[in-house]
């Protein structure tokens, strides 16, 4: 039960936010974006934070999900849910295909390869204008309907997006606390050590890559239906970087950290708009500052602080509590 205490807090936050602040822009509009970003970040964190494999190209999978949904519903007239499944399938296939050769690379080589992959996928969105609409994007993507109930308002989307995000967090938490999660972390700790413990590192890296791709593609499909319009700009190299920053900002190898990082990085530009031209400068300074002074990430560093404070309080008030 203790393991899921944090999860219940997160659920409570998500449910209470629109009740306490009804119709608030930052909850029902920005909240949806946060939920999508958090879903991708949680998946990417499985790959990066836990397994230690960097990806600078995850926007590509987000895009594959979005474009599959967008193209299949607008051009082929598919049912939106069917298109969503097709998007997941497409992401799966692509991830499965490239994962094996790419994950044999390490460190900066892996960073470059994933970056290149992301750029290639982005070019494939931009260039075939007659299919994808090119840089002008793909418009008129229908919204989703759930049991005959159209998801067409911000609050409904808030419900769907945060619901899927919570599901993603729950799955990720389970995964991390399992035999598989241990093996993933072992790969991060020492590849050769993990191999000697009988972990098929090549296979498990591919699996977790696929899982993180599926998280991103799911977010992408939902994103396409929620926005009604998609264009390659939303799936560029910059977004891949943003995703990595979300994971690292929150704190690697912490699922809540990834959610936290996604929330911070999504809210930051919204609040920095008042600084106008200084926005870019401040964003860069914040990224550097956090990494230099809190290398564990915001979330992990802060939660460690809180734990320390609680622990020291306990020890002063009730020394016998320490066992």
């Amino acid at each position: 039960m203790r393991r899921y205490g944090g999860f219940l807090v997160l659920v409570a936050l998500v449910v209470l936010a629109p009740i306490v602040f009804p119709g608030n822009y930052f909850v029902t509009v920005v909240g949806v974006t946060i939920a999508f970003n958090a879903l991708i970040a949680v998946g990417l964190n499985l790959l990066m934070g836990y397994t230690g494999q960097i990806s600078l190209g995850h926007a590509a999978f987000f895009g594959i999900g979005a474009y599959s949904s967008g193209l299949l519903t607008t051009l082929m007239g598919w049912n939106a849910w069917l298109a969503l499944l097709a998007g997941l399938l497409a992401a799966w296939l692509v991830a499965e295909m490239i994962a094996r050769p790419i994950l044999r690379l390490k460190g900066h080589y892996l960073a470059m390869a994933t970056l290149g992959f992301g750029i290639i996928i982005n070019i494939l969105m931009v260039q075939p204008t007659h299919i994808t609409g090119g840089p002008d994007g793909l418009a008129d993507i229908p919204t989703l309907t759930l049991f005959g109930w159209a998801i067409d308002s911000d609050i409904r989307w808030y419900g769907v997006a945060t619901g899927v995000m919570l599901l993603g967090v729950w799955l990720a938490l389970n995964l991390i606390n399992s035999r598989i999660g241990l093996a993933l972390r072992a790969v991060h700790g020492s590849e050769v050590g993990a191999q000697m413990m009988g972990v098929d590192i090549e296979r498990i890296k591919v699996r977790v890559f696929v899982v993180s791709a599926l998280f991103a593609a799911l977010a992408g499909s939902l994103f396409a239906h929620q926005q009604g319009f998609i264009s390659p700009d939303s799936f560029s190299f910059h977004f891949s970087i943003e995703l990595v920053v979300m994971v690292v900002l929150g704190g690697m190898a912490s699922t809540y950290g990834a959610v936290f990082g996604a929330a911070v990085l999504t809210l930051l530009p919204e609040t920095l708009v008042v600084f106008e031209e200084y926005e870019v400068l401040i964003l860069g300074a914040i990224m550097m500052g956090i990494m230099i002074f809190l290398p564990q990430g915001l979330w992990v560093s802060l939660s460690q602080k809180v734990k320390q404070i609680i622990a020291s309080n306990r020890s002063t008030t009730n020394p016998s509590a320490i066992s």
Binding site: Q127, P135, G137, A139, D140, G228
Partner: protein, 380 residues
């Protein structure tokens, strides 16, 4: 105790809120979202400066119908995803009365469903013809379309007897969209596109593409794009010793282009708004007075004027005029008045809107210009 404080706080907030809404009635809330930074900043930057300059001027002179204009602005960096959230913010949080903006076609297309659903008048400053074709009830735009540019260019080619054209376009939204129009319209004008090349946003050299175009033996080269790309293309053409006529699009309609391209820009033709050649217009031209006034005012504060700022000027005054005529900021009334715009003389041309035409500019709004001695001149 706790409860009382909370109640006091809450009632205070309610009071504040009601004050805010009461005051809101007295000012016109104008929302805008522009690409002030990022790859399309040369669009968004002059657009925002123009809006701010004239909103301040209008307010100084007593406002519209006695009401002050309050401008709400967000920088999209040309990112459609940001644009969607910012427009939602304008609609839900700032509760604006109407929206002008959307420097790029991508950001504009992304928000159309939102403004349609919110039933809010929206005047876009982006180029693509898709924005108003098919007509959307609440969506208008001020810049000439890429379709018009292509038509204007083809008419000029017809006059010069050019039949085979080599095209090179930027891979950004503007270039791609223009390329689509060129390919679609060429047959109508009896023109054959013999080469179709492109270049990326930050490419540094296009000689490879251009020598490929040269190998296809065109009679002229047409470049659709904006930013540094067209200037590099122009320089590279000079460098390769290609002497074919070069046509650019209205995407390069600023002095910066001539400055960057140097000597190679001589003889380049492009369709552009009269704004660029304000001084050279005959006094009989109805636009002359308006354009000169804008040009003088802008250049006094911000340096060389570009046609892009003009799109902002037109959007703002189309809106202001419509609000004046409607006598309120009632959304439906304002929308109807924008649609009824007749003979509005703007920076981009003379606008005549109708339920079937939410742009209201004719081909005559474009002048065919040629660069001579480092300056624009009008081709007759």
């Amino acid at each position: 105790m706790m409860n009382n404080t909370l109640k006091a706080l809450l009632s205070g907030m309610v009071l504040l809120l009601s004050c805010a809404t009461a005051q809101a009635g007295s000012e016109i809330k104008l929302g805008t979202f522009l690409a002030v930074t990022g790859p399309a900043s040369f669009l968004g930057d002059p657009e925002l400066k123009t809006l701010q300059m004239y909103v301040e001027k209008i307010n100084r002179e007593g406002g519209v119908n006695g009401r002050q204009i309050k401008l709400f602005h967000y920088d999209t960096g040309a990112n459609p995803k940001k644009a969607v959230n910012f427009v939602k913010r304008l609609i839900k949080k700032d509760r604006v009365d109407l929206i002008v903006g959307g420097s790029t076609s991508g950001t504009t297309m992304a928000v159309i469903p939102l403004v349609e659903a919110a039933k809010l008048p929206f005047i876009s400053m982006a180029g693509s013809v898709k924005i108003i074709d098919p007509v959307k009830k609440w969506v208008f735009k001020t810049p000439h379309t890429d379709k018009m540019a292509a038509q204007k260019i083809f008419l000029d080619m017809n006059k010069r007897g050019i039949k085979k054209v080599g095209m090179i376009s930027g891979s950004g939204g503007f270039g791609k969209s223009g390329r689509g129009q060129v390919l679609a319209l060429a047959p109508e004008y009896g023109i054959e596109i013999v080469a179709d090349e492109s270049y990326g946003k930050k490419d540094t050299d296009m000689t490879a593409q251009l020598s490929k175009i040269r190998a296809a033996n065109p009679e002229a080269i047409l470049n659709f794009g904006f930013g540094s790309g067209p200037a590099i293309v122009t320089k590279n053409i000079g460098q390769l010793g290609i002497t074919l006529p070069l046509y650019q699009s209205h995407g390069v309609a600023s002095k910066k282009y001539i400055e960057m391209s140097g000597a190679s820009a001589e003889g380049v033709r492009l369709p552009a708004a009269s704004l660029l050649v304000a001084n050279k217009l005959p006094d009989s031209d109805p636009q002359k007075k308006v354009i000169l006034a804008y040009k003088t005012a802008y250049e006094a504060q911000h340096g060389a004027v570009s046609t892009f700022g003009g799109h902002g000027y037109d959007a703002l005054f189309l809106a202001v005029e419509a609000i004046k005529r409607a006598g309120s900021t009632d959304k439906e009334a304002v929308r109807t008045e924008i649609e009824k715009t007749r003979n509005f003389i703007g920076a981009g041309g003379v606008f005549n809107m109708s339920p079937k035409d939410h742009l209201g500019l004719g081909l005559d709004a474009f002048k065919m210009l040629e660069i001579k001695n480092g300056d624009w001149s009008i081709v007759e």
